[in-house]
Amino acid sequence: MADSDGKIDRRTFVGNIVRAGGAIGIGGAAVALAAAKGRLGDAVWQIDPDKCIACGNCATYCVLDPSAVECVHNFAMCGYCDLCTGYFEPEPNALNSGAENQLCPTGAIKRKFIEDPYFEYTIDKSLCIGCGKCVKGCSAFGNGSLFLQVDHDRCAGCNECSIAVACSSRAFTRVAAGDPYLLKGREGNG
């Protein structure tokens, strides 16, 4: 409180400082939130492929069945290998599309001859359950062109994603809904 000389006592001075600090803090937080909202817009869940360890949780923890997570293929990174370790079992009987040679338990990867000795591998979305087995095979020996992503045509958009809660490598992250995929390399094709 100001005395007759117009001076303020210590308690009033400290109180004013605290009130001013609080006002600045609240104002700053509001500005930061507004800026974040402006930058991100609506956010959705996505998998950071550089953090994903393809543990298999995506296939079983999603509220949807089959999961909204599925494998995608970056053709720009792919070696188009005859012996694709994301497609074939570690010890295939032969390099052909026989079911016994395929790594994918649901047969979701299609192998197509391009030119000698190159083959193209594409994902059949209707069969992929997002288990990540092919991701492990590709990454163990190859370039890592197969990786997992949340398919936003299927994702229910839960506020608390049950896979994100179960994700042991913290690979799930919020991204802008307008740019919802985290693809490897410069290009990506689903």
Binding site: I53, Y61, C81, G142
Partner: protein
Amino acid sequence: MNQQSQSTFPKFGLLIGLVVMLAAVAGVIVVLQTNPFGEQGSGLPESFDYDLAKYRKIDPALIGYQQTGEIALAMKEPRAVAVGPEDRIYVAGDRAICIFAPDETKLSRIALDDQPQCLAVGRDGGVYIGMKDHVEVYDPSGTRIADWQSLGDRAVLTSIAPAEQHVFVADAGNRIVWRYDTNGERLGRIGERNEKKGVLGFVIPSPYFDVAMAPDGLLRVVNPGAHRIRAYTVEGEEETPLEWGERSIGIEGFCGCCNPAAIAILPDGRFVTGEKGIPRVKVYGALGNFECVVAGPETFAPMPTSTEETRVPHKLKVIDLAADSEGRIFVLDPDARRICILEPKKEDSK
């Protein structure tokens, strides 16, 4: 009044205890639900497992070498190893070449302007360093004497093999081997795809494409996507009968999509091969017959685990190899930032 508060207090304490217990149970449930231990909780059947553990195990009876030395490298990113005159050991990494004596003592260091990708040392002590798109040449004292013309944006140089009058440079980006004279003049291309002539070219899915000169005077070139090693004359003619290599995850073959990632040639013409994916170093005879294992996955650090193997795979580091005139094998272990020196096991230590 006093009696009433005494009888209320135990009930209140019991209530607090119950709340604490419920909170603890809820905490355990949350911890279990968040699955902090990775794959424990996916609930997928066994057919969804991807397990290479059995292939990583090497039969000890097949291991014919033992480690007899080690050079710790003060480099963040060692990339390549080579052996030069007097069995000096050259290591490329970061923005430098480090030179060591055969007894592992450090001799000197050559500073570079950029990150080296590969290197080789000629018989005259000239050091050929592959940058991403061009070769730089240094004299034995470490002075830069030549800077060869760039091979363009598409070039990814991965290996160099100097011969008497030629220098061969492997280019994974263009999928060919460049043939130079020792002055850096480009003389030709080796192994280029030519469908009219039925030449498929080299299959190089990832940037591991090695070349080496053999004592028989022929250039050896790895065709990693075919799991084969080809032979060429210094003029670039393929010696088809000398091609060898087998695709197999078994120990006799080369595993994965594209291997071997590195080769070296022993003084008697036998081959040393290094694989990625399942890191293993092996020796093959001059005609490609499997002889023994030099080092298996357990030698290299860190041992890949289920949580590491898929993370940033395109940034994984891969071993490199060299051999000296005594038949010692030098293995660059980039993760451990060291050179392992291995020699054949003596009879009494087998």
